[in-house]
């Protein structure tokens, strides 16, 4: 055990996800030996993040105002909404520069064993966004795993009667891999989603 404030810092760092006691100790001593200006800047950012960052009123992406940067951008197509699980998925799709519509962040995926059901996600708010008839296509971009598939199938079932076109991101073989290592589910999906090239 270290004295007072040093041990407090190690304990606080140790509460962060993925940081064990040894890592917490290493980071604490790095901060102690770092340039004071760098440490003050980190502390100021940590203070600011809780004061200024909030969730967008429309799409639940992280934002610094009532609306996020994407929802407040008038150049974005209001007819397409891409549904993702987390804010980090918005960044991943934005990096592709392929999508010019808007987003809706669910805040997770349906996982009954984990105690997460449809009422724990921003599904009700998504359905409310579709009510005015502006949106013509809903793109389901939940993760390609069991929870993501269940969430997509639940959303498709709920939204189909509203007359909105519901699409799901294609899934199949990743670039840079060998066919012989592909599992049956992935290979089956790749066959289902094959496209005409000639």
């Amino acid at each position: 055990m270290y004295e007072g404030i040093v041990q407090d810092l190690i304990d606080e760092l140790g509460r962060l996800p993925g940081i064990g006691p040894k890592s917490a100790q290493r980071i604490a001593f790095h901060l102690l030996s770092a340039d004071p200006a760098d440490v003050r800047r980190l502390a100021a950012t940590l203070n600011e993040i809780k004061d200024k960052v909030r969730f967008c009123r429309l799409c639940f992406n992280v934002a610094q105002a009532e609306l996020c940067r994407i929802c407040s951008d008038q150049r974005r197509d209001p007819e397409q909404i891409c549904v993702v699980e987390e804010s980090k998925d918005v960044i991943a799709i934005e990096r592709t520069r392929e999508f010019r519509g808007r987003y809706h962040v669910l805040g997770g995926a349906i996982n009954p064993i984990g105690g997460i059901g449809p009422d724990d996600l921003h599904i009700r708010e998504l359905i409310a966004r579709l009510a005015d008839g502006t949106v013509t296509e809903l793109i389901l971009a939940t993760d390609p795993n069991t929870e993501g598939e269940v969430t997509a199938s639940y959303l498709a079932r709920q939204i189909a009667p509203m007359g909105v076109k519901v699409t799901r991101l294609a899934s199949g073989l990743p670039m840079g891999g060998d066919l012989e290592w592909a599992d049956e589910v992935t290979l089956g999906r790749a066959f289902e989603g094959r496209r005409v090239v000639a």
């Binding site: 009954p112 059901g117 891999g177």
Partner: protein, 265 residues
Amino acid sequence: MSRSARGDRVLPTYRDACNHGWVPVYRDEGVVLRTTPLAEADRIVTVLTRRTGRVRAVAKGVRRTSSRFGARLEPGTYVDLQLHEGRSLDTVTQADILSPYGAVIAGDYSRHTASAVMLETAERLTGEERQPAMRLFLLLVGGLRTLAQSERAPGLVLDAFLLRALAVSGYAMALQACARCGAQGHHQAFSVSAGGVVCPQCRPHGAASMSLAAVRLLSDLLTGDWAAADASEVRTRREAGGCVAAYLQWHLEYGLRALPHLERV
């Protein structure tokens, strides 16, 4: 090979392997019950295996889209595994799909919620890791296969699995005779604490009244009379399902997290 106190031969442990220079690798088939994220791109998978019982193992890099495991270690998948035994957690070294029940079931929300209750129950009924539970394993594979085939109502498949899983774990529900005095007959009072139906003389305080049709349905599900179970009414299925859920959670001494999300159709 070590020996138990009775002198029986038991499987070699990690320590045995290290002491004798063996490579502690084993192969088994199992159903993935649950996955938990670990570090940047790994997961801990909980698997109910045919021969070893419930094991927890690390699947390295499985969350990367380029992972060699792909969809092989998703919940509800029946897999052939090669595992490297570790001190606390094993490591998955190879995995091949035997049947992708989880992926098939995921396309239907009500079937998925039923399978989630089955997987969580199987995990809870195997109290200790590495205690073989062959009958429970076979029941789980059969239950998932029936759910994936979409031929029967998911609620009935779930209740049949739960009743049989409880029976093979030593908590068989008394349905043909009074749970207290053994008097034969389809009695119409149900007591969770007594262990099933009870006769009017033995009926304790708090026992619920139950229709004869619901008692018969439970009995049909336990014995596998699917023709009679399929012909039951929705109201009867709901009544029987409620009894099974209460009975299950009483004996598990645990409120299943998946049960409130179960969608009975």
